[in-house]
């Protein structure tokens, strides 16, 4: 197994600031915008962006939700593992709102497809955008592309992108891990 650093602690911080600024450029005061972290991994990135927007860029009332997509996935009964649901925290209706989906890695695009169905349970948003920390190029199964991306990587099938967050891994960092085949 070999490991390559894609983003170190400082680079993660710079990337998060850039993504926050890109969001501000597009959504200005966030009065009609909702950030939705996709469970389980997207919630860390969503919470981090919320903190930056509120504390560093002084934007009030940033609304954040966490959406669990387990019951909307298309691989139910197709894998040996039982799909484990995560907690869902959506305390608002998204009708007429500008929704930004937030996830750490964009790979096949199937999770985003599931999220597009899941969000309909909370109303009809005005628009939906996608913010991704790491975009794995050339691996999409569906025609889905991010609107905001932290970094694009070319990773082949037996490589895995691992995102660590201070909150649960004691450091911020993104790694490309290659398993010997």
């Amino acid at each position: 197994m070999s490991q390559k650093v894609l983003l170190n602690n400082i680079e993660v911080n710079i990337t998060l600031h850039r993504l926050a600024c890109q969001l501000i450029e597009k959504h200005v005061d966030f009065s009609n915008t909702i950030l939705v972290g996709l469970q389980p991994r997207g919630k860390y990135l969503a919470s981090r962006l919320e903190k930056l927007l509120t504390e560093d860029y002084k934007i009030d009332n940033v609304q954040v939700g966490f959406l669990d997509i387990t019951f909307y996935r298309d691989d139910f009964r197709r894998s040996d593992k039982v799909l484990k649901p995560s907690s869902n925290k959506m305390d608002f209706i998204v009708e007429g709102k500008k929704v930004v989906f937030i996830d750490d890695v964009l790979f096949t695009g199937r999770s985003i497809r599931a999220a597009l169905t899941a969000i309909q349970s909370y109303g009809r948003p005005k628009s939906i955008e996608l913010l991704i920390l790491i975009d794995r190029r050339f691996s999409r199964h569906l025609p889905i592309q991010p609107d905001y991306r932290g970094r694009q990587v070319d990773a082949i099938e037996n490589e895995k992108v691992v995102v660590n967050w201070k909150e649960n891994n004691s450091e911020d960092g993104v790694y490309l891990i290659k398993h010997k085949s």
Partner: protein
């Protein structure tokens, strides 16, 4: 989350504590789903479920049907009174005919104890027992325990008394199994003629006096007197039963603590429980009904995940 240790839900006696906790954790997520503006998820869109009700049922049938629909399963309903069973068809023939129509899961309610187990030995489909005679009613016991956990925070160490017709009650037996697995202390209370002789072998306490039982417990589960299963008279009159074992407001007020009152339905108002109690804040009867849908969604989802595509 690991998976259930069983491929069918035939009774609580087939489950272990871990299974019950997996079902409860999954039900928490489904309770969230059924409280959203759109209460449906597409998980089971390629699963077909047949609801076979060989015995009358209102809330269990509706609850299963709703759970299946909210998981997007295709469903077919069958009730014995409108079927070829009346023309002499056997249970296995009826079910195999239904299975030829490519059904993946069977939810069965039957007046004979052991019907679900018998079916699972003879047909190739996932079986969910929705009540088999006076044997077991596993989903009712799961939703009862789930409702207690929701109200009291946990079940371990809590004292639950099951009052009434224990002899004919599948709800009582399944509840005893589930509550004991989860670490509760269980007592049964009712006229001697309606308490099975060797019930204490299951590790439950037996009490004839309702007031003593209520003073002991945290939760009272009031069962219905099952007149339809009584071929002889087990007590002199409904009036006398009600005087000795009916729960009224004055009895509840006389206790020096608050208890939770449960009832699996249908209620005979004024017999095992007075209208005043049934409609009071102490009763969690309607919470039980709401939780029933979430529990049944969890059971069906977890069992369906074991059906190979």
């Amino acid at each position: 989350m690991s998976t259930l240790s069983v491929d069918h839900l035939l009774g609580i006696s087939y489950l272990n504590k871990k299974d019950i906790n997996i079902i409860f954790d999954t039900a928490d997520h489904f309770k969230n789903v059924i409280n959203r503006p759109i209460k449906k998820v597409p998980s089971l869109r390629d699963i077909t479920i047949a609801n076979l009700f060989f015995e009358n049922s209102t809330r269990t049938k509706l609850s299963f049907e709703l759970a299946e629909k909210r998981l997007s399963a295709d469903i077919v309903n069958f009730s014995a009174s409108q079927s070829s069973v009346k023309k002499g068809e056997t249970l296995i023939d009826t079910v195999n005919n239904i299975l030829s129509m490519k059904v993946d899961m069977i939810v069965i309610r039957h007046p004979k104890p052991g019907a679900a187990d018998f079916l699972h030995q003879h047909v190739n489909a996932t079986i969910v027992n929705a009540g088999d005679g006076s044997h077991e009613h596993p989903t009712q016991a799961l939703l009862d325990s789930y409702s207690i956990r929701e109200k009291l925070g946990c079940i371990n160490g809590k004292k639950v008394v099951i009052v009434g017709d224990i002899l004919h009650s599948r709800v009582a037996l399944s509840n005893i199994y589930a509550l004991k697995l989860l670490g509760a202390q269980v007592m049964v209370c009712g006229p001697k003629s309606l308490i099975p002789k060797y019930i204490s072998e299951l590790g439950v306490l037996v009490e004839k006096d309702l007031i003593k039982a209520l003073n002991w417990c945290d939760v009272a589960n009031m069962l219905r007197v099952q007149n339809e299963r009584m071929e002889i008279g087990y007590f002199p009159s409904i009036r006398e039963y009600s005087q000795q074992y009916g729960l009224t407001k004055s009895i509840l007020d006389s206790l020096n603590k608050e208890i939770i009152v449960m009832h699996p339905g249908p209620i005979n108002r004024g017999v095992e429980i007075s209208s005043e109690i049934a409609d009071s804040d102490s009763a969690i009867i309607l919470d039980q009904v709401e939780n029933g849908v979430a529990i049944r969604m969890a059971v069906i989802y977890l069992l369906a995940s074991k059906i190979k595509s």
